[in-house]
Symmetry: C2
Subunit: 103 residues, 2 copies
Amino acid sequence: MELNNPYYAVIFTSITTEEDKGYLEMVHQMESLAKSQTGFLGFESARGQMGISVSYWDSLGAIAIWKMQADHLFAQKKGREEWYKWYKVRICLVEREYEFGNG
Amino acid sequence: MELNNPYYAVIFTSITTEEDKGYLEMVHQMESLAKSQTGFLGFESARGQMGISVSYWDSLGAIAIWKMQADHLFAQKKGREEWYKWYKVRICLVEREYEFGNG
């Protein structure tokens, strides 16, 4: 259905250089950081050959603050470029949605 | 960067009832069907406890035709509701994107 109050999705698609323990720990930290933030609406993640994480936000402002904090977290450990062989970030306006069953 | 020509993403998040062979076969058929269609731009998929598939399209019209064909494919096998415990579909306008490395 068409949404009266559109919200934002950040689609983060990635291929990692290696799956070490430090990496997974950092992903969990990123998720916790997101959840504690104003404007955060939800987080979904799955991993196969490729990793896809989608976070949901109520505004572009909230995404900008989240990005700043995430960059800071990466910088404290190692650069984002050292973890990832490739990644792509897409910032999207969620215009319509529909759902089936109980999540 | 801000896009001069925004495009669409369909985020399909799901929890399946069971992972049988028929299901995976059907997912591959869905992907092939999408790839052969006008307006198709890309497909990304990953699966953990939750499955996330994202397809990319040049217009809402292309998404509508794709949905119709997908519904038809499901109907030929079994109803979508029999495969999935839960799913959510979000149709999004991709407004900005940035990328690192070679995918």
